[in-house]
Symmetry: C2
Subunit: 739 residues, 2 copies
Amino acid sequence: MIDKFLIQQQDFPIERDPGFFETIFALSNGHFGTRGSREEAAFSHELVDEGTFINGFYESELITYGETAFGYAKEHQTIQRVPNGKMQTLIYRDQVLGRDGEILEEERKLDLKKATYERTFIWLAAGVKVRIETRRMASFEDPHLLLIETKLTNLSQAAEPLQFKTCLGPEKTEADQVSDDPRKAQARGNLHYEKLSEHFPLLETQTNRSRLAVVVGKKTTVKDEATEKQLTFDEANQTYEETFSFSLKPEETKVCQSAIYYGDFAPVTAHQAVSPAEIEKQLNQALNRFDNGFEEQAAHMSRFWEASGIELTGDDQLAQGLNFNLFHLYQAAGRDGQTNIAAKGLTGDGYEGHFFWDTEMYMLPFFIYTQPEIARQLLKYRHTILPQARERARELSIEKGAWFAWRTINGHEASAYYPAGTAQVHINGDIAYATQLYYETTKDETFMKAYGLELLIETARFWTSFGFFDEQDAFHITGVTGPDEYTVLVNNNYYTNRMAKNNLEAAFQYADKYWQQDGYQALFDHLEVKEEELAAWKKAAVNMKLLYDPDLKLTLQDEAALERKPWDLTTIPKENFPLLLHYHPVIIYQHQVSKQADTILAEYLFPDTVSIEQQRRDYLYYEKITTHDSSLSRSIFGIMASRLGFQEKAYPYFNSTALMDLTDLQGNTKDGIHAANLGGTWLSMVYGFAGMTVKEDGIHFEPHLPEQWEKLAFSIQYRQERFKVTITQEDVTVEKINK
Amino acid sequence: MIDKFLIQQQDFPIERDPGFFETIFALSNGHFGTRGSREEAAFSHELVDEGTFINGFYESELITYGETAFGYAKEHQTIQRVPNGKMQTLIYRDQVLGRDGEILEEERKLDLKKATYERTFIWLAAGVKVRIETRRMASFEDPHLLLIETKLTNLSQAAEPLQFKTCLGPEKTEADQVSDDPRKAQARGNLHYEKLSEHFPLLETQTNRSRLAVVVGKKTTVKDEATEKQLTFDEANQTYEETFSFSLKPEETKVCQSAIYYGDFAPVTAHQAVSPAEIEKQLNQALNRFDNGFEEQAAHMSRFWEASGIELTGDDQLAQGLNFNLFHLYQAAGRDGQTNIAAKGLTGDGYEGHFFWDTEMYMLPFFIYTQPEIARQLLKYRHTILPQARERARELSIEKGAWFAWRTINGHEASAYYPAGTAQVHINGDIAYATQLYYETTKDETFMKAYGLELLIETARFWTSFGFFDEQDAFHITGVTGPDEYTVLVNNNYYTNRMAKNNLEAAFQYADKYWQQDGYQALFDHLEVKEEELAAWKKAAVNMKLLYDPDLKLTLQDEAALERKPWDLTTIPKENFPLLLHYHPVIIYQHQVSKQADTILAEYLFPDTVSIEQQRRDYLYYEKITTHDSSLSRSIFGIMASRLGFQEKAYPYFNSTALMDLTDLQGNTKDGIHAANLGGTWLSMVYGFAGMTVKEDGIHFEPHLPEQWEKLAFSIQYRQERFKVTITQEDVTVEKINK
């Protein structure tokens, strides 16, 4: 019997990579994240990835190109590991937990209702057994706090001397390995550590080139008397070690509690904004109300599940996968307006901790409809990096507007392979789309005035400068890469042009609407928007080239879609997927093959622009040439299958989507969760199975419930109100609920 | 009055970069080359580029990519600087030539008839004047030998004590500078030097990763008695220093003669194949018959000019440029079957000393028609690297045949930017074209049997695997880059398809011809050629897609030629050329702009396939969108202008071609000569102005002599015979001459 809110190690095949569990059990609160490694890992000889990350805390490094050219991105940005506050062990005589003895009856679980990671096991060393129970949480209420509790129970017949050792210091990471896999992190920096206190663990970490600093502190208590405590600092490893010695009687239990403070990063010059005394105070408070911390976390989660959960009755395994995905998605989002959602959340440094279009197109709808405050912060981040996007546009000879970085942390382009990076200019349209969706869903006028309108205008301007009108006045966008990274530098990519059209229309519509309104003139003046420009946006939008082949009755992904060499995917050996790891780009790009939804993604977003029959034809055509080598693909194919009446296809796609990480479908969950796919799960449920569409006249549901399912229920917020949607095989009910 | 065979420093503007003269005055014999730096440069504080290179002597280095992917080239190969044998100075009391005193009345010149670089000047130091006359040659008769003679004459009133110091050691190079210019050398290795002799300068140079070694020796004599000689070795600089001390009476002249031996490179494990004693013997011989060396060089050149020269009467400056270019072209070619012609010859390390398609398409015709023995060696090089090309094809999932490296020294792909590297698969067709041209011009059956046929077959096989037949049986080649590097990864590039067609036809034609012939069966068996394969080549050739737009009546460079964004080149500021240094590739590639001749190059090669009227239309269209940012462009546009009757265009293009390096047209002659353009000069004269075409029924001339010219005369060899062609405004005479 499956508990839909509990992810337990015992439920997985035994051969799973340890790294898989570290990802699965990772905890985060959008500010920091820490992988679900065993507490004593640092004392073992195993190579594990303990990774603790602070969102947006990165090191830069000059990019070395095999051959460079004008305008290439200058610097790598790589999220860095901050000091590991989880390290602890137990010492019994000369035996060290992790290094010596045996682990018995181990259970590990992620509790999705409490947002805790828990572990119990028995350590057998030198004939003596100790039961160890730990629980851990990354606080949502106080985003600086990581809490770890360890209960030690003596299961032997006599009183035993024990030492509980708990540390704070740089993570012992795997040696960097040269890898041909472009999805892995490129570089881990040489960080500088500074001991800030003599009487409690307080360590500053500084990056070298990006000049950022962050302070991490830790306080630990062992409940009850008769413990002896010693604090030392291991200079060689820059690690604080705190040792508690005590004797434990048979059946007696000691409770050790640690509170770890992960500060906000800041420029090195402005560091230590929070004083050691203040940090110590906060840590002491956390220890004093330790159990309250866990209770508040559970209460927070209860509110989360109410607002953002999806209740699925009829398939417990899928329901569990769904819950797991929504939980990790919620964990991943930066909430401070200065950070965003990394491609792996804060569960690993794959993709360098960069922010991509994944946020806008896969994850934001979930937040917009269920956690609009977070959605607002995520969009605010884009506004924060507008200056860098403008600078980039000028550098690349675009006269007006912004050219957002394809992948970045600090706003500057960090893509070291421009054909599948900088050339993916659709990111501009993606940001505009999400901006509009947020506004239309929330009617948040303050946002529109402060951030939204400027984002819409600056992204729209890019298109009129980058694209062009032909002699028949059709508007073309050439030399770009769409979402499908198995074709690059193409002309009139369907998705890109569709998004550009939408972007231009939105800029026109809102600029027109606010043109004479009070309080907006300053913005228009500042941006030097002229009325002619509005007209130009409209003209480009109306005349946007959207490719269609009338003979084949097919929407075309790009001008060359039918020119390329056919490739029967069924003839490719299974072990040659993903193609990108087995074929040179020249070979991949010369073929009719798609890494992921591209045209289909556009039709998913704008279903009213193309007839259902056409969408069906397009779907069947593109499905045949799509490898889903990107984790962003299956959810969209699943949703469209629901919509288009391919029910027998929808369910397997959703299955893959909902269970992608839990079943390690892409084979690299150990490097971190697939954040976009988490968002895709929610999209699948709400846009797919529930068939939600939002139109001028309101929200509509046209459910396509798989017959196995009894019920689907979820909440959405729409223009300051919250609705509970319940779908059964017979019925759809929408009820307004009080927030 | 211009001496057509003399290039003198005084004829150039005074502001020219010192590096410009080092390139212009460089000497080479295809085995080694050394730049025309002043002998005392190493003793000055100037940063000069003295570069001495041995053809094919390279260091490898792992390529670091910003982001890597499957099948990328693994290693850089960079031609290395070998010990500098030119270093010498004069010491008068505490004054050192180069560092102290003044240089007066300096004259430097390159004598194209003698193949020598000569320099005279007066050194004024501490009130005393010494006249110094040097001459230098890289022997064509003994390719290991560099000879330097220095005559010292005392112009003062009294006998003066002098020291002549001459060295052999690593070159003092400029510090490497980070450059965004992809045309510059990427890396200079850390070489290892070993002193091999105590009694004369003999230095071994070893590379680190590529594990190659080369030995350089030097012997020097000062004529007449009363000189005192001392040999030391400066450990810190790994440099031999030989000092001759003597007293020079007023008007007395001392003659110092050095012979430097540049050995063949070999794997480190097989080095010192030539013993020190043998090297010393050769150097002593060279010194003993020092003047003979210079005489033999002049005799060699006299034969060269007779066989390969082009006599132009009516424009002495152009005639001089022409001679200069042919001389440098002749110097540049590897003659040992193991090496080729680097993009900068042996005059600099730009483009890393790599061999490109430039050889086959721009330089080989000159050698084929005037120096067929060298042409044969250059093609033999391609056969030598066939195993690497086969391996590369397999790695990139091509089932059969060879995929030649776009740029290489050792045969392995060294292009670190595949869109303008590996994707330029036309190199296969280029090699096949040159193979066929060599054979048809020479009827060298031994070559055909040993190398030619295999090259034709293995290159042809690539196309049938890489390309495909569509449903109407047209043969397509997709995802490639043609010669025009301002569009990449295109479909059905006209030039590529034309070359592939020719390659497939040639493979069919010769395989068919030799199919039943004695002595060929082993080759066909070894290559596992089946008769069906011949048919497949023919079918692909016959059905090759060659793009044409019937509405515009235009031959199309690729499927997307008319889709891209128009770019009026006249609106681009002059300082923004070459575009590649001022615009991001995404911007360049999205536009209708051409770096160089592409479709026009194909029409130049196969003039009978397209009507003259069509060629004229194509010319005028492509000329408007071509920037000539590649030095390979103007010569072809010039030839085509001649052929198509655009005489007013032909002359300026030829002017630019003939004087490209002498006028520093591309702005980077200091980095080395533009070898392909040198070949282009010959093509311009012979194919352009002389209007030579070779058909089944023989060689034809249809001259287009500019009216300024009186006469054009040159020799060509055709099927074991040599002909002298003389063209005047009135007449064409072709006379057979005895070799």
